[in-house]
């Protein structure tokens, strides 16, 4: 795979030759007790806290002016105010979440509106969506990953209004994909016939981001 298996000129071979299954890698490393009873995707570790990761300042988003818009490929827009979102049927999913920075958090409790409800009457044949946020963040997802009880506009975490640092007042929640797909401060969903990369995807991160297939970076 690399030239590391060739001894360096004038020096001893570092550690050993078999880099196939790691017997000689990081000698003495044991790691934590392996988590039991939970399914951890490859390369992830279990986290009790709720780390925050964002590319810029946390935007101030007021629910009195908040709206969420869905724009189809013909440009038709359907939008909801905060009060209208709250009046829709609410789900209370309890889900595991997986961040590409390698923490996973189990059994997180949310409340929000399923995208099945929001997209039900939207006319579209598009296969992809670009989700946009207050503050300018974007991320792309296949429509198939937003439908079928797999995605929500979430506004409540662990029984309390979602904190701004975690994307409040409302964020997309798509727990079966790496968590950068679950856009914080969500404000729009634009349907697209062709896939286009969003913010992190343009910077080398994967277009789908399935943690079980460890799709962290483009090409994985």
């Amino acid at each position: 795979m690399t030239s590391a298996t060739t001894p360096a000129p004038g020096g001893p071979d570092p550690v050993g030759l078999d880099h196939g299954l790691g017997a000689t890698l990081t000698p003495g490393f044991r790691g934590r007790a392996r988590p039991e009873g939970v399914a951890l995707p490859p390369g992830q570790y279990a986290e009790e806290g709720f780390p925050v990761l964002s590319a810029g300042p946390t935007p101030n988003v007021d629910t009195s002016t908040w709206s969420f818009a869905v724009i189809n490929e013909a440009g038709a827009t359907k939008s909801w105010t905060w009060a209208e979102l709250m009046a829709l049927p609410q789900d209370e999913p309890t889900v595991d979440i997986h961040c590409v920075t390698r923490w996973s958090k189990f059994a997180t409790r949310w409340r929000g509106v399923s995208l099945d409800v929001l997209l039900a009457d939207v006319e579209s044949t598009a296969d992809f969506a670009m989700v946009g946020s207050y503050g300018g963040y974007t991320t792309n997802l296949p429509v198939a990953d937003l439908l079928g009880g797999k995605a929500w506009i979430a506004h409540t975490f662990d029984g309390a209004p979602l904190h701004p640092e975690h994307g409040g007042p409302a964020r997309l929640l798509v727990p079966h994909l790496y968590f950068w797909k679950s856009a914080k401060w969500v404000r729009s969903l634009t349907l697209m016939p062709m896939d286009r990369p969003g913010f992190w995807e343009k910077l080398g991160y994967h277009d789908l981001g399935d943690p079980w297939r460890e799709q962290r970076y483009q090409g994985d």
Binding site: M1, T2, S3, A4, T5, P14, V15, G16, H19, L21, G22, A23, T24, L25, T26, P27, G28, F29, R30, G31, R32, R34, G43, Y45, E47, E48, G49, F50, P51, V52, L53, S54, A55, G56, P57, T58, P59, T101, R102, W103, G135, G136, E165, F199, W200, K202, L203, G204, R216, Y217, Q218, G219, D220
Partner: protein, 297 residues
């Protein structure tokens, strides 16, 4: 295909696929709780200041743990017109990477410290799974799997970004990627005005103290201030406390100058500082942040 125009723009941010084996060649103590690890990575494609490296550790039973660490070292030196396309271009064949016998002067100059050598600085996180091993136990001469460079947002590249004033705000080990930017500036002989505010708990927790002093002493447009939040020396003029809004305003660049702002540190630091910056009139779109949560480690 003609020479030197084989790179796609999209490959600029591509992440080299797969893991490769690196060797720890040296370690240096930076503070009682932080060590710089010097890794030899064969065929390292170069990086931009601010990017990070993924490390994968393997236990005897095959269990693996992966973590990301900011690169502390300056990017390998290369011709400025080449750096933007060659850095992180994984589509290049191995024979054109630094260290090979290719007749390419820009590439063969490689890094100042030796081809393929990169540095990460690891801060020991109490009860962490990985950082205590890396800081206390990982022995020189042994192997570790690496992947990178990764990330294209929290970066500063003199070949692309020179000229626009830069305001750096680092909390704790958030200094590491910022230091890579300061080193990149020095290595490139760049004179872009830089101002750094470094917030750290106590004097003994400081990283790169002598080097920061030396960077400031060059009087070439790099200024650094260090503040302590928990304890100070007996002779200090400023008591231990967090960065205030007035300090931020008087030590940084005014918003009218439209500086590029980089904020890196624990979430509380990044949230507090970026809130103050926005309140002082800095455009949120020019503020790039990188945070580490309470449990990265």
């Amino acid at each position: 295909m003609t020479e030197a125009v084989g790179a796609r723009l999209g490959a600029r941010y591509a992440v080299p696929s797969g893991w490769q084996v690196a060797t720890l060649v040296e370690r240096r103590a930076e503070s009682p709780s932080a060590e710089t690890l010097v890794l030899d990575v064969p065929g390292w494609p170069g990086h931009q200041a601010g990017q990070h490296l993924d490390l994968r550790l393997t236990a005897p039973d095959g269990y693996t743990a992966e973590r990301s660490y900011s690169l502390a070292s300056a990017p390998p030196r290369s011709d400025s017109t080449l750096s933007s396309t060659l850095l992180a271009d994984s589509s290049l064949p191995a024979s054109s990477l630094p260290g090979s016998a290719l007749p390419n002067t820009a590439l063969s100059s490689a890094t100042p410290s030796g081809s393929g050598r990169v540095e990460v600085t690891v801060q020991r996180v109490r009860d962490g799974e990985v950082s205590p091993y890396l800081v206390d136990d990982f022995p020189p001469g042994s192997a570790i799997e690496v992947r990178g460079p990764i990330g294209g947002w929290f970066v500063w590249d003199p070949a692309i970004d020179a000229g626009t004033p830069v305001f750096l705000l680092a909390g704790g080990s958030g200094l590491v990627p910022v230091m890579s930017m300061a080193r990149a500036r020095r290595e490139a002989g760049d004179r872009t005005p830089f101002r750094l505010i470094y917030s750290v708990r106590t004097p003994e927790d400081r990283l790169y103290t002598d080097e920061l002093d030396a960077l400031t002493a060059r009087s070439d447009g790099f200024e650094a201030r260090t503040i302590f939040t928990r304890a100070v020396s007996l002779t200090a003029l400023r008591g231990p406390r967090r960065l205030t809004s007035s300090e931020l305003a008087s030590w940084g660049w005014p918003p009218e100058l439209e500086p590029r702002v980089y904020v890196c540190g624990p979430t509380g630091f990044v949230e507090a500082v970026s809130r103050m910056l926005v309140a002082q009139g800095h455009d949120p779109a020019r503020i790039r942040t990188e945070r580490f949560g309470p449990a990265s480690g």
